[in-house]
């Protein structure tokens, strides 16, 4: 018991020190957003803004079309995440639990495409998208992000850590493969689904290059694209840049805080149910 207390104390100290190191750039981002533009880069670093300038936040809200951007981004992030989790885990079951010829080659193709830098096949993809008339619609980003190999790979690995004997037992009970996927595998994989959901959501939220290439009309802009475009008109206004960065991070942080309780609760609760 005593070692546990000691361990806990040491753990807290380590975590506290690490937190400072991890949050320092974010902290700097926040204070820079509360400064006048020409006070952002100073020698030595000014860690506390004086005076505190709220003007940047007001300026961004008033002069940019933040509501449209937030709506688009939220829509994209939700749709992409739902599709990615659903199709990804569905395909993952096929890869993890079904045996059929060509399966491994196909899976290697999935992983292989992840190894190709997007910039190098961006143009063929763009031409293809414009042929099926998806350019400059929110559909293009959904199509681009929702069927990635990442979710398939992540869920497959997780499914493989679920014992196969469970499947066998369920089959004997007369459950179809689809039923096993829905009733057994998915509930057991809540931590994996939670992390896939969070990561997909974050990646869609923070994606800049995809929206930049595909979403040209202002009514389709996402938060990242909108903020960067808005800021790029104000050449080298770093205080404003940091304000935009803070604003785009905050929603993610909230969602992350809310979502991660599923990591601890995942297996424990389903174990009881099972």
């Amino acid at each position: 018991m005593r070692t546990r207390v000691l361990g806990k104390t040491v753990g807290y100290v380590v975590l506290a020190v690490a937190s400072i190191g991890l949050l320092l750039p974010f902290f700097w981002m926040v204070i820079s957003s509360l400064k006048h533009n020409n006070d952002v880069f100073t020698v030595p670093v000014q860690w506390f803004p004086s005076p505190v300038v709220w003007h940047n936040y007001i300026e961004i809200w008033q002069r940019s079309d933040m509501t449209t951007w937030l709506r688009n981004t939220l829509l994209l992030a939700v749709v992409v995440t739902v599709l990615q989790v659903f199709t990804g885990s569905f395909a993952a079951y096929g890869f993890a639990r079904m045996r059929f010829p060509g399966r491994d080659i196909l899976f290697l193709a999935y992983i292989g495409t992840m190894a190709v830098p997007w910039q190098s096949y961006m143009i063929p993809q763009f031409v293809l998208m414009s042929k099926i008339h998806l350019n400059d619609t929110l559909w293009s980003i959904i199509a681009l992000q929702a069927f990635g190999a990442f979710g398939v790979f992540l869920m497959k690995q997780y499914f493989e850590s679920v014992p196969e004997s469970l499947n066998e037992a369920a089959r004997i009970d007369g459950l179809s493969e689809y039923g096993i996927w829905r009733r057994i595998m998915m509930p057991l994989s809540i931590p994996a689904i939670a992390s896939l959901t969070l990561l997909t959501f974050v990646n869609t939220w923070n994606d800049y290059l995809g929206p930049l290439i595909y979403l040209r009309s202002a009514q389709n802009w996402t938060i990242q694209l909108g903020l960067k475009t808005f800021i790029s008109q104000y050449n080298a206004e770093y205080a404003l840049i940091m304000t935009g960065s803070v604003l785009s991070v905050l929603p993610i942080a909230v969602i992350f805080l809310l979502g991660q309780r599923y990591f601890v609760e995942g297996i424990a609760s389903t174990g009881v149910k099972g």
């Binding site: 975590l15 991890l22 670093v45 199709t87 063929p124 790979f153 690995q157 991660q260 174990g271």
Partner: protein, 313 residues
């Protein structure tokens, strides 16, 4: 139920009973069901990713410049790579980055996940903090770290000065230290991301196993190696492969931090591909470099795959 799970997990035998059952009809049925599972994802994947990637493979044998025709040049792009010193530099720099970044991030992420995989006050906060570098805008990260690294006025070198280091390294403005600087930031940024994946994996480790090992008198280190690590193997494999691919493809971090410089000291393959493609419009040649990068990742991944299989059995 839980005990069934545990028992099965201990047994390392993963032989499927289905395979022993003969019958073509069954095999066909399995194939059919397997494909129905994969199809919804595969349709989107094949059309929007696989086809463009195959086009890219084809283009690596041409002198395509984006516009107009793409004349077939056979292996000319690949033979050109042999003598291209910048390609060699980029290749070696990429290896340099990957060889250090992969183990460093793997260990850091796992340690962080173990540390944060317990019920304690404030754990939610700490996990969020660990994930912050990944969600913070990369431009802001580059600004802040570049400033921290500033050789003359940066806090890092000022701190080193307190420790008695007279002339701290030049970091991002020195050819020797620019890569270590990028490595530090790369690991700092990504460990929270991989921590999250490890955290999910750690939930599959049954508490009963730990309890049993504790009763048997195993110390924490032994329990880590004999209980946690084996259960975590699918996750570790996933993280290693993702980390490998991510390291070989490292791009935006370098672009915003050093832009490949000073000189070519941090030029990496992805950036070279971008330079040759969108900078110089040699898309055929850029495609060939992409194929090399692809092969590099695939070879390493297959090696990891086989190693994983061997450890499993």
């Amino acid at each position: 139920m839980a005990t069934v799970v545990t028992d099965d997990r201990i047994s390392t035998e993963r032989r499927s009973p289905r395979r022993s059952r003969p019958g073509r009809a069954l095999a066909r049925r399995n194939t059919l069901i397997g494909w129905t599972f994969i199809l919804p994802n595969f349709v989107g994947f094949a059309l929007l990713t696989l086809v463009p990637v195959i086009v890219l493979f084809y283009m690596s044998f041409t002198s395509w410049n984006v516009f107009g025709k793409a004349p077939w040049v056979g292996l000319a792009n690949y033979t050109r790579l042999i003598d291209d010193k910048s390609f060699h530099t980029a290749f070696l720099n990429t290896l340099y980055y990957a060889v250090i970044h992969i183990p460093l991030t793997l260990v850091a992420a796992l340690a962080l996940a173990l540390l944060l995989n317990r019920k304690m006050r404030g754990v939610t906060f700490f996990r969020t903090v660990a994930f912050f570098p990944y969600i913070t805008s990369i431009v802001a990260i580059a600004f802040v770290w570049n400033m921290l690294f500033s050789p003359k006025y940066g806090p890092i070198n000022q701190f080193l000065g307190l420790l008695g280091v007279e002339h701290g390294p030049g970091w991002t403005v020195s050819a020797q230290w620019s890569m270590p600087a990028v490595l530090i930031v790369g690991t700092w940024r990504e460990m929270g991301y991989y921590m999250l994946l490890f955290l999910a994996g750690l939930q599959t480790v049954p508490a009963e196993l730990h309890e049993a090992a504790r009763v048997d008198g195993a110390n924490p280190w032994q329990r880590f190696w004999n209980v946690t690590m084996p259960c975590l193997r699918p996750t570790t494999f996933f993280v290693t492969v993702m980390l490998t691919i991510g390291s070989f493809k490292v791009f935006d971090l370098i672009l915003v931090m050093t832009n490949g410089g000073p000189g070519q000291s941090t030029l990496v393959l992805s950036q070279y591909i971008y330079q040759k493609g969108f900078g110089e419009f040699q898309f055929g040649y850029a495609s060939a470099i992409s194929v090399v990068l692809f092969l590099l990742c695939i070879v390493v991944t297959i090696f990891q795959f086989l190693w994983n299989k061997r450890r499993e059995s």
